[in-house]
Amino acid sequence: MRWLLVAPAVLIVVALTIFPLGFSLWVAFVQYDFALGDQHPWVGLDNFVENWKDPVWRASLWRTAWFSVTMVAIELMLGLLLALAMLRPFRGRRVLMTLYVIPLFISPVVVGGFFDLFVRRPYGAANELASWVWPGEVAIDFSQDSPWVYITLILADVWQWTPFMFVILLAGLSAIPDTLYEAADLDGAKPRHAFVFVTLPLLLPIILIAVTFRLIDAAKLFDIIFSLTRGGPGTDTYTTSYYLYQQGFEFFHLGQGTGGAWMFMIMLTFISFWLVRRLLKPVEEA
């Protein structure tokens, strides 16, 4: 019985991933490059090594790491703050909640495009906005100058995904039974202590789920880069996903691109496994 319930989900995943995974594993070990012809001789680890030889690949790994960590951290804190602020019902909360969910429904590629529209000169509004709060004229190019281009990218991602964190955390917060707080109150705990000793521990599994999903997605950051900076200026905003897309899709160095993708996937697997172990542990003990 129990296998029957699981079967359809498993079947569909297997059907659609087994051939692609097998094929892609094969491609990673052979020469598969549009410009080099139809033959696909075995090249061993060459595809993997080619990636490591490229400083752009190495830089992109480092950049992807700190981008995703920064973005998720900001989204977590902002989401938590918002969830706390919106916890108690007030007039207009419904409307605000509906509003807050909107960014999730906009395709990331479009979000990137619109942030670009907002900051690009001379037609974007960002510089004028800045000039209202900053004395004098603002001659910064927010989508080009370092470090502003990074800030713009982070802001775009935060704008889009904070609602995700917010919704999940709000749910988690409202699930905590009041009885626990009443008990803590009776014990003489101050609100701050209640937060640290009651709220946070109970919220932790929720935080972990949200962070895991968000971190994995953030590490695959592609769409916003594609429409906001195209990896520029130069290669300063290349993430690993964008690099792989270029290699595989624009230059059709599929062997190298696939090799890189597998390495990237293994790295991500390790990280998410580490995160999720903590999640699975308490569940198992329950």
């Binding site: 619109f114 749910a171 409202s174 009041d178 599994p205 592609f222």
Partner: protein, 303 residues
């Protein structure tokens, strides 16, 4: 197996007092207000710019200093985007694909999660395996999927999946399953099995227990899982672009065509289409948010 049982279960969840949600700590009124105000401003600014761009004429779009509200708004961008850039087709396809994906992902995901939660089917390995689909970087599988859909599906199934809505639905389901499975898994684990045990004692089969007890209790969780599955399908771009040709164009692909146009970006049209695509999204958002907070509370917290 009765409604009474369901009600009893729900009231036990909420505890004695529903008055003060979230406990005794208070984020000061002013701080709270400031927080919400600042964030709302941050949220609205790009949205406002998008909305205003969609009704600006090209002159106003290319004006320096920027025009905050056009004196002569136009609907040209809307008609252009919808008629000349596959706007209508994109919206229609996106709606169909997103709905179908959501239904499929939720149905399959709930069934699997129930089994995994109640019977430990597959243990933690199966659970983790379901997560691994999300880790796949698209580039690793996009070409083989393209080949599968355009060549091999024809050979093995008799029809090609390329450029079809069905093809996209199947693929998106695979990507949405991790979220639906995990969401429902956490839910079902949270739910005490006693209620179902009681139902079984009363003579229901497992399947009936799932349908009549577990499912209604988990309904809010289903809603949130469905919401995120929908959002994923609604906004996915890369696979839709590669696997579509002229029939199965989705809204993000139509939009990207305007934003990555070789000789320039057509932001007026892109913002117009985005605004239109927000309408179904908003409607769903209103529908869903009612259940969202209430629902996510159950089963989300695990201690």
């Amino acid at each position: 197996m009765t409604d009474v049982a369901v009600e009893r279960a729900q009231s036990e969840k909420h505890g004695s007092s529903r008055v003060v949600r979230g406990g005794r700590f208070r984020v000061g009124g002013v701080v709270r207000f400031a927080c919400i105000a600042v964030y709302t401003g941050f949220l609205l600014l790009p949205l406002y710019w998008m909305a205003v761009t969609s009704i600006k004429s090209q002159e106003d779009q290319l004006s320096d200093p920027p025009v905050w509200f056009p004196s002569d708004p136009t609907t040209l961008n809307y008609s252009d985007a919808l008629n000349n850039f596959n706007g209508w087709k994109g919206l229609e396809n996106s709606l169909v694909v997103a709905f179908a994906t959501t239904l499929l992902a939720v149905a399959l995901g709930t069934a699997a999660a129930y089994s995994m939660a109640r019977f430990r089917t597959g243990g933690k390995h199966l659970a983790f395996w379901f997560l691994s689909q999300r880790i796949l970087p698209p580039i690793a599988i996009i070409i083989p999927i393209f080949l599968l859909y355009s060549r091999y599906s024809e050979e093995w199934l008799g029809f090609a999946l390329i450029d079809t809505r069905l093809g996209l639905i199947l693929l998106y389901t695979v990507f949405a399953l991790p979220f639906t499975v995990w969401m429902m898994y956490a839910y079902f684990r949270q739910m005490p099995p006693e209620l179902e045990e009681a139902a079984l004692v009363d003579g229901c089969s497992r399947l009936q227990a799932l349908a009549k007890i577990a499912w209604p209790l988990a309904a809010p969780g289903v809603v949130s899982a469905a919401a995120f599955a929908f959002i994923f399908s609604w906004t996915e771009f890369l696979f839709a672009q590669v696997l579509g040709r002229d029939e199965a164009i989705t809204a993000p692909v139509a939009l990207a065509g305007m934003i990555t146009f070789f000789q320039g970006n057509l932001y007026g049209q892109a913002s117009a289409l985005t605004m239109v695509s927000l309408i179904p999204a908003l409607l769903l958002g209103i529908l869903v948010q009612r259940h969202l907070v209430r629902g996510l509370t159950l089963g989300a917290v695990q201690g």
